[in-house]
Amino acid sequence: MKRPMRREAVLTAAILLLILAAAVVLDAALPRYHIVIKVIKKGAVYALVAVSMNLLNGFTGLFSLGQAGFMLLGAYSYAILCIPVAKRMGVYQYFQGGIMRFSLPELCSGVFGEAAGTVVGMLLALLAGGLLAGFVAYLIGLPVLRLRSDYLAIATLGFAEIVRTFIQWNALGPLTNGSNLLKSYPDLPGAASYLLLIGVFIGVIVLITSSTYGRAFKAIRDDEVAAEAMGINLAHHKRLAFVISSFFAGVGGGMLAMYMGTVQALSFKSTMTYEILLIVVIGGIGSITGSVATSFFYIAGLEWLLRGLDSGKFLGIKAPGVFKNGFRMAVVSTIIMVVVLFFRRGIMGDRELTDLLRRKNRRRKEESEHG
């Protein structure tokens, strides 16, 4: 009983390491702005945010649409804490350089040395963004988590819109730069570092979902009445799931800011939440593997493979009359509809990579027994 489980874990770890190694090779072989590197980076960020949403919507059964709001908080925290002091004057040109007089990477450089300090500072800024998002989630969770299903979705959606408007408020300008861009903050070097970092964060989520708390979350999803009768405190556990999910959405938002190079509240619209919800549903509600894989496919398709559909040439076919602006989205939507029709429970259902490996092993064993 114990052995095969360990075997699957080893296989899974090997697959993940192989992907990481591939990313290292790609980093070395391709220029920094190559589309493949960008797809991996953005795919990784979306994977984290999708998994964080899955934790709430898939594992705990709370239908929340506040993801973009929490990402926004994380993104702004990261940007504000990381813009080098020397560049603040230029970024906050309408607010006399803003009120922040320090930059975390620079502070940490003083302690840990230039290279290590910058990275430590960036990580601290990401975590700070996550903590802020988690804290805000705790506060709004107090009233909002009493709501059920659709009503919770509407309330969280409203919250996200409020955050977006609030951040652009001119009175907050010295901190958030109002409705202007934040830029000039540092980015992580290559695709491999993104994968590594996101891998660690998703790893933590996996550990949580497979712990006794994860089981309590699933119990709430399956049957609230029974969960409560089994002694699971509904309010406490829902709040916990909401805060954890928002924390990682905040971290993911910080990394999205990192990836984009500039951040503006305007881009964190509810469309972004729907995009992520789409990834979660297509990947399989309750499957972390599904969310991760779908994130990469979705980003690769949208940003890279299907680009030609918008610009006149696709798969060597030149048809400027058909392949023009907007056609790509029509194709993507069709693909999504087909996937939903054929995979009613998402591509992965609620299975994980380890389940797939186990199934294959079992089948092989049965075959060898019969043969």
């Binding site: 933590v204 550990l207 949580i208 712990s211 006794t212 708390y213 089981r215 309590a216 699933k218 119990a219 999803r221 399956d222 049957d223 009445v225 029974a226 969960a227 409560e228 009768a229 089994m230 002694g231 699971i232 405190n233 509904l234 916990l240 954890i244 309750g286 609620d350």
Partner: protein
């Protein structure tokens, strides 16, 4: 006699103008199996729900092991509407949510089976041990609670062996046949380490053979887990066979109480069940 495990006093549950439970008083003593019976709509399940914290009683008091777990008096619009007795007798308000009551040591099963459907049989039992955890989110996520987790897993397996479901432990709970799902529900309730077990129509939908097995099973777990059992049931065979004492209610009101032999011949009970004039 010893102190009662469960003491229900003048319990009244009124919904709008309907008296679901009307002035119910009963005591259940350690180690007893007590049944609450009555025709359809007599108010058995509302009484259960008042004990388990699903409803707040309109009036009356419930004590478990000497501590008040529910007490209330007519409030809000019930002040006007209340049609029961003992108005003004209870002045405090004590409300525990269902999870807190389970933690105190009252576990229950449901009339319409409510298992965690996406989980395996084993996980269903394991999940019910969450409430006795000593770990927090951090220690649980980073596996610093390994000893507790291992102990829980061992205990869950042991429970499944006791109820005879260990063979099915990796099956999805929803895939079990009906009778076994009922057993699993009981195993899951036992995993919360209760002193008092509430069974809501445990024999509903069972054939005579299964009902007989269930009778033996309830006796077995009572002895093995040092339990007190309080059950609601329609199946007269089961009730007469298993109960130490029986309370009968009709239209929310207690009409008889006593040992099975007495209840069986009580004209009021026969009336209530056969609808005589």
């Amino acid at each position: 006699m010893a102190e009662p495990v469960l003491h229900i006093e003048n319990l009244t549950m009124q919904f709008g103008g309907v008296m679901a439970v009307n002035d119910l008083s009963m005591d259940i003593y350690p180690g007893e199996i007590v049944a609450l019976i009555g025709p359809n709509g007599a108010g058995k399940t509302p009484a259960f729900n008042c004990v388990t914290g699903v409803y707040e009683p309109t009036n009356g008091k419930v004590e478990f092991l000497g501590a008040v777990i529910a007490e209330s008096h007519p409030r809000g619009r019930m002040k006007k509407l209340y049609a029961g007795e003992h108005r003004g007798l209870y002045t405090r308000r004590v409300v525990y949510p269902p999870d807190a009551i389970t933690k105190l040591g009252i576990a229950r099963t449901f009339q319409n089976i409510r298992l965690f459907k996406s989980m395996s049989v084993f996980e269903n039992v394991l999940t019910a041990m969450h409430l006795r955890r000593t770990s927090n989110l951090f220690t649980a996520a980073f596996r610093l609670n390994r000893r507790e987790e291992a102990a829980q897993r061992a205990r869950a397996l042991e429970l499944l062996q006791i109820v005879g479901l260990d063979e099915w432990k990796d099956e999805p709970a929803a895939a079990l046949p009906y009778g076994k799902q009922r057993r699993l529900e009981i195993a899951r309730a036992l995993a919360t380490e209760p002193r008092l077990l509430l069974l809501d129509e445990p024999a509903a939908g069972m054939n005579p053979q299964e009902t007989m097995e269930l009778t033996a099973f309830i006796r077995q777990i009572r002895a093995q887990f040092d339990l007190t059992v309080f059950l609601i049931e329609h199946h007269m065979n089961l009730v007469m066979d298993i109960s130490d004492r029986i309370y009968v209610i009709d239209f929310g009101r207690q009409i008889a109480a006593g040992v099975p032999a007495v209840i069986q011949n009580d004209p009021r009970v026969i009336d209530a069940y056969l609808g005589g004039g």
